[in-house]
Each structure stands twice: as C-alpha cells, then as structure tokens.
C-alpha cells in the first residue's frame, strides 16, 4: 500500500517510471478481471488498454490518498458495464451470430493468452448473474472490499456479500460437475 502511495505521488509529479511500474504491477489482475466480466477476448483487451490510457491522462484527477488497485478495478468494471450495455442495446444479435461474427475478425496480436483453466473459469463465471459475477471478480481479482463494491453496485454491503456468497455457491456447483480445474 505504501508503495502504491509513492507510485501515485511520483506519477502525479510526472514520472513515467512510476506509470510503468503501475502498469506492470496491475495489468495481469486487470486483464483477469476484464476477461471474467466480459468473457470476450477482444473486448477485455480493449477495456484494459482504454483504462490504462485513460489513467495515464488523468494524473491531475487521481487522489494521492486513494486505493490505486481499487481505482483501476473500478475503472475496468465501469468500462466493462458500459461495453455490455452498449452491446446489448445496439447489438441485439443472437449469441451464435455474435460469436461467429467476432471469430471472423482476425486480430493476431491478442493480448491475453488464455489457458484452458482461465477459459473454463470464465465460462463458468459467465453463467452467473452479472452482479454476482462482478462481486466475485472484483473481490477475488482486484482485492476490492465489499464496501467499495457496494458503492460501485449502488447496493448495501449485505446485498453485495450475499451476491458474493450465492455466486460462489453456484460457481462451486458448476465447477464440481466438471473435471478438476
């Protein structure tokens, strides 16, 4: 945490090295979070990339006292939500059609290299209601506290804890029916 405070302070003072360090420190967690929320390879790549670029441009707006990881995770979660909302509203394409359209896009420089474990976990997470998936992912991947998640989800802490618990139970039963991860 103290390291993060120093990083933010140096970043706000204009240090590119501090930004590099922040990037390297959190990119994997943010990619895991985005891929869990979106379960869409390219969208997850885009969201995290947008998040870092936007972060880099916001040095004057970041509070030195804030929790850096939580800030970045919230940024990813908000962007993921917007992405899903836009997708639903504008692209009411049936799932099989959307999938085949996506798969035809050739983008060789895919950022996340998916392991079979990660893919299966994300597929399982995807079967949960979005709020549960979000609560689990933010807590597990981004280490966010329930209070912060409650703020993001505009819900009470109890509700978020229930979402987390029910989500884990359901996830457990989904994965229990599969082979060992």
């Amino acid at each position: 945490m103290i390291e993060d405070k120093l990083l933010i302070w140096r970043f706000k003072c204009g240090s590119s090295e501090a930004l590099c360090r922040i990037y390297k420190k959190y990119k994997n967690d943010l990619l895991k979070l985005a891929s869990a929320l979106l379960n869409d390879t390219y969208a997850a790549d885009d969201v995290v990339q947008d998040c870092f670029v936007s972060f880099a441009q916001s040095a004057d707006r970041i509070k030195a006292s804030g929790n850096l990881k939580s800030y970045l995770a919230t940024c990813v979660a908000n962007r993921a939500r917007n992405r899903l909302r836009a997708r639903k509203r504008q692209e009411t394409v049936e799932p099989d059609e959307a999938k085949s359209a996506e798969s035809n896009l050739k983008r060789p420089e895919q950022w996340i290299i998916y392991s079979e474990r990660l893919r299966r976990l994300n597929d399982a997470l995807c079967q949960l209601p979005y709020e549960q998936r979000e609560a689990i992912s933010l807590h597990a991947h981004a280490g966010m506290r329930f209070k912060a998640i409650a703020q993001l989800q505009d819900a009470s802490i109890n509700t978020v804890q229930s979402r987390y618990r029910y989500g884990l139970d359901k996830l457990r039963s989904i994965l229990a029916n599969e082979a060992e991860l």
Binding site: Y23, E91, I113, R117
Partner: protein, 419 residues
Amino acid sequence: MKPAKNIGKLIKNIDIDTNAKTDEAVLNNTLKAFENSKKEKSAATAPNIWRTIMKRPFTKLAAAMVILIALLGVIFIEWSTRPAWAIEQTVEALEQIKTVKITGLSIYDSKPIPFKCWIKFSGQNRKSFNMRYECEREVAVVRNNLAFGYNPRSNKVEIFSGPKIHKELQIWYKVRELSPWVAGKILEVLKVLTDNWQETYEKNPKTGSDRVIVTCSYKPLNASFWFVVDLESKLIIEGKHWFNINREGAPNFHAQSFVYNQEIPDEIFDFKIPGGAKVINQQDLEQADALFDKAFKLYDKDKNYSEAITIFQQVYELYPDKNIAEEALSMIGICYGAMGKYQKAIESFEKAIREYPDLKGWIESTYFYLGRAYMKNGQKDKALEAFKNCLVLGEDFHKPNAFPLEHARKYIDKLENEK
C-alpha cells in the same frame, strides 16, 4: 485442487499469460498518452468528444462545429517546420477574431445542401460564444445557456438549457469548454489527433497571393481534412472534411467561405419557435429515457418480452417526436423477434423506418434488424435489400468493421452465396 473446496482461492490464484509484443505496445501507448497529457491536458477528452459528436442525431451541426474548430485549430500543427507560419503571428491574427461567418455545403442524404453559420464571441477572453447554424434541413441556435434545435421537416423544436443539458447538446458545451477558435486548448488537442500531415505551398491562381494547402487524416475516426490557409492573414479561407481517410468522393462538409470580423447583429442569434411547431423540453426527454430503461430491463434481464413491448409502446405513444420513439419501435421489433413472431417484428421495424427515415445513426441498425427478421421469416430477397440499405445509410456513421455494418455485410455474403 478441487474447485469445490476453495473456489475463492482458485479464482484469486489463477495464472494469466500475456502476449509480450502487445504488452509492450500497450505500455508504449499508455506512456505516449501520459507524455501527451502532460503537455496537452485537454487532449484527453478530445477523442471521446469526437466520437460522441459523430454518433449524435445532431451530427450535421456537430460535424460543422468540429470542422470549424479543426480548421482554425490545425494550422498550428508543425508550424515550426515553416517559418512562414510563425505561431506568434497566427495567434495574433486569430486573437483579433470577434466574429466569423462561414458558408458552404453539407451532405444530407447524399445531397449537398447549402448552409450558413455565424459565430460571435463574447465575455472575457472570449470564453463563450453565440452560434447559429442553418440550412433547409435544420436550424440550431446556441445563445448563452440556451440551445434550440429545429427540424423543419418534422416541425419540431428541441430546447435545452442549464447544467443538466441533454446528451445531444452536451457536446456543444464540451466544445465550448475547450475554448475553440483561438485559445490554445483545442489546438493542443488536434496536435495529438491528426496524422499524414502534408503541406503544399503555392500561389492562389486567382489572386496571386501566397497560400498553403494542408491535408491530414485521423484513422481511428475515419476522418480526413483538406484546407487552405492564406499566408498573409494566417487564417483559414476554405476547408473540407470527409468521413473517410483518403478524401474520397464529395466531402461531407465543405466550408467554402470564411468572413472574419464582420459585424453580426445580435438578432441573428434569436430563435422564434415557428407556428405549430411541437416543442420538446429537457424534462420530457428525461422521462422518456427512464421509461425506456424500465422497458429495456424487462426485455434484457427479465426476458418478459410482452410486458416490455407494452412499455416500449407507451414510450412511442407518449413521445413520438423524440429519437427515443424510433428506438422504442425498434425494440418492439426485437422483442417480437425474441418471441419468434417475425411478421410482427417486421411490421414494427418497417414502421420505425417509415416514420423516422431521417434518423441517421439509428435507422441503419433498424434496417439490420429488419433484414434479420426477413431472413428468419424466409424472405431472403427482402432481407438482402434491408442489409444493403443498412450498408448504404450507415457508411458515414459507423466503422466498417463494427456493428451494424460488419454484421450486415456478413449476411449479404451469406445470402448471395446461397443464390
């Protein structure tokens, strides 16, 4: 590890690998954005603003604003490579501008329509301005904190005011915040945006005066520019803007003449609501949005399509003069599609197209949905026609590799292969 035993730990500890090349590229982009941001704080908002502009129903006016700003802004880019463009001289010239009148052509439904635009700066440091843009298809007036948008075809006036100005108008205010025309912010923004910058110095064949012709483009937004700067006055004298990066075809916006510092009477910025015009205010729009969201939740989350249709129908009936009514009709079609009632879906999409034929930015998606409903209904020829309409109408408004164009093209290929 058995997942059933410690699922939380499993999620937390799962490994992830990344492509090193992409890692480096993203980091470079991030650092570049950081460096640019340090120099040009205002640059951060520009791409989003630009994207928003292109998506909004007020696109023509917004595009006009962009080109006007761009035209006066981009002349600073790479000024240092040409001594003829001493920035101090240009700033000095621009600082004298109190008013500007621009006339030219703007494309509506593939036809060039003449327009006029007046802008008058006011207040200290010219931080605010009044504006009027008019052509036979629309009139828009911004005066202090009030904005009016008038569509003569539907005889509809939209009024926006105050800090919670509706999203269509927010963009104007964003543009205004950036202190366009003269202040440095917008210039800094454009320095970051454009590429393929080319300058050609020449004599004006008519007047013999020196001038420079500049071209540049911005790939991510599929936009390109061509404009002429008079080297004596250092001001823009003509400009064009295309919604493609190669300046192909007729320009979507052609500012043919700029008249600077001519007296503009304040009456120009008055707006009188035409007789019989339907007036829509901001509160109506917020209520329509709330009802629409309620219906959308029923469709998306609860899968309660029949209830969603009832509420979308209410949105349409209560607010038929708003863009959201077209969206509501489109959503009714989508709900019927989800219920497998394709004939009903077709009727709804066709109604949306019939009643809102000019609603660019939305109507192309409706054509896509119509095509899909025809396909499901076994009417392949009609489906093909609808997908083609989607492509033609959408080419100026959507990226070619994104929804709905990408999907429409895919279906066209499929249908033509089946012939």
